[in-house]
Amino acid sequence: MPLLDVRDLSVVFRRKGAEPFTAVDGVSFSVDPGQTVGLVGESGCGKSVTSLAIMGLLPRRGNTVAGEVLFEDTDLLRLRPQDLRDRRGRDIGMIFQDPLSSLNPVIPLGLQVAEVLERHQGRTRQAALREARQLLEAVGIPDPARRLKEFPHQLSGGMRQRALIAVALACKPRLLIADEPTTALDVTIQAQILALLKDLVDRSGTALVMITHDLGVVAGLCDTVNVLYAGKVVERAGRHDLFAQPRHPYTHGLLQSVPRLDADRGRRLHQIPGSVSDNIPWTEGCAFAPRCARVIDDCIGATVALEPTRRRDGALRCTNPVPQEVPA
């Protein structure tokens, strides 16, 4: 039984004087205990909104959330706000993109780590601070006793993200949602943080939902990958299948666009033409069609369904997929 089962999740933003905007359009995916699942896509495809909807952190006004988010058979979308609040931070942890702005600038680090322990595990301030020190040590922050008293601006970017990971994992949640956890860090620190995350989730058996636009992160970390485009899952596959044989032209294009060290230097980097603003509505065909290299007449007209593929956990939403190479 999956730990998290997102079924047909939709988020529609409504604003006065503007067309309603469907940011997430019937997304379904599931996460097994201890599994790492990736949500990949470019800016504006609905990755972050999906994660905020799961956590119930979208603004109260101006949007409609539909579908089901089953966490161990409890529908998070139908929980009372105070019950959901009790689960956030305890059962589900979350890490955000920018570690500096996600930490409160005027509160010492120690109190920020201790707070979640006081809140969910009823620790006293002293006990929580002692445990905070161990947590900082566990995420590889040197001299944790001193860091407890320091303020976020006194830490380096990598240390801040380590601290946020310590906070998110403090109550040993069963699920961790990481929303672009390495985007604000430079490349060497990115690698350290990813290694740390992988190590921690492996050891504690925490399931991880990794939201990213960075295919390198996906390749290093995820068991299963969901590729999102314009609010819908367009392809789902195991990590190896996806990288070896992308079937959706969008996934294919993304992988082609990754710079490679062994590529011919004289050649221009591949790019997907156009931008998300060229999309057509999903109701009138495939949203990606105007930018697609493999577009055919059948792509326009009717909604394209997400069909299971023969690969394990695989699914594909495409009328003219990239042909599967037959192993020789």
Binding site: R88, D98, S101, S102, P105, H120, K149
Partner: protein, 319 residues
């Protein structure tokens, strides 16, 4: 191959570098926002002058009985005997600033006046601050009709000139005491703090660290009190310092206009300036000069310190 005293191995070299770096950085541990700002304030001449002025008047106010040569309400026969219609005695032995129109020691009255003036200013500011912060925090955190209601009330209050509003409030009270002045000046300052807090709350409501706190399941009340209010604190401190100056001026103005406590024994700069100073301006102008100068200096002190603190606490100036 290695020179004596040179680096034997790469590991040795690394260890030394790490030791050097930790030795250099360990001194900065625990430097807080406020301590950092304090260091910058000490380097700013305007801040030092402002703080010195405030400290001077504060010491005078607190130790008034020790500093003052005489009782401020006692009438001295050696002074009253020399009072005439068109002359008030100036400096004499034992009375460094001479007499006031009732034969009391003017220097002692000035010194006790510091006590009175600072007391009114501090209390009016504190009351205004607490109520304003509370209202602003509620408005910003609650939003919706609560916000609209509170903000429209502050709009109305801000639309009137502050002194006019204070005069109206004093006039509404059945009898005028020191407390009517304090409350009137406090109420005038409420909208300033309310707007400040509301703005700060609104900005923070959308901030990442509040979202992160919500993602940890922190309760709404705790988010406001433990995460948002501390972030507004620096702005409140700066505003409070500047408000002190305004409060002292407003209180003095009310007394000057004869709307304060009518007790003639009370030594209060605004009252001294407004009643005796104006009436005897041609006979003995010092009766106006000294209270006026004192009011201006205190207000200047708070303004200098307030403006310097605004600069020092601005996160954009942080190194």
């Amino acid at each position: 191959m290695t020179r004596p005293g040179g680096i034997a191995t790469l590991a040795e070299h690394k260890r030394r570098r790490i030791d050097e770096l930790t030795a250099r950085t360990s001194g900065t541990g625990g430097v807080s926002l406020l301590r950092d700002a304090g260091r910058r304030l000490r380097r700013n001449p305007a801040a030092v002058v402002g703080a010195a002025l405030i400290l001077l008047f504060l010491v005078i106010a607190i130790f008034a009985p020790l500093v003052a040569p005489h009782d401020p309400v006692q009438r001295f026969p050696e002074l009253t005997s020399r009072l005439t219609v068109d002359s008030i005695p100036g400096a004499t032995a034992g009375h460094p600033l001479g007499s006031d129109p009732l034969g009391r020691d003017f220097a002692s009255r000035m010194i006790y006046g510091a006590r009175q003036t600072l007391f009114v200013g501090v209390l009016a500011t504190l009351i205004g601050l607490l109520s304003g912060v509370l209202l602003g925090a509620v408005a910003g955190a609650a939003g919706g009709w609560v916000d609209v209601l509170i903000m429209r009330i502050t709009d109305v209050m801000l639309a009137l000139p502050s002194l006019l509003l204070a005069i109206t409030l004093v006039a509404l009270a059945s009898e005028s005491t020191q407390w009517t002045v304090i409350v009137a000046v406090a109420v005038v300052n409420v909208p300033v703090f309310a707007r400040l807090l509301r703005g700060s709350m609104l900005a923070q409501r959308e901030s990442d660290h509040v979202l992160a706190a919500r993602a940890l399941g922190v309760r709404g009340r705790d988010i406001v009190t433990r995460h948002m209010l501390p972030n507004s604190l620096t702005a409140v401190i700066v505003q409070a310092t500047l408000t002190f100056a305004v409060a002292i001026l407003d209180a003095a103005a009310l007394s000057f206009l004869g709307l304060g406590d009518p007790d003639i024994n009370r030594a209060e700069w605004g009252l001294m300036l407004g009643v005796d100073g104006v009436r005897y301006l041609e006979v003995r102008p010092e009766l106006a000069y000294f209270p006026a100068a004192a009011i201006i200096l205190v207000a200047l002190g708070f303004t200098l310190l307030g403006e310097s603190m605004r600069e020092a606490l601005d996160p954009k100036n942080r190194r």
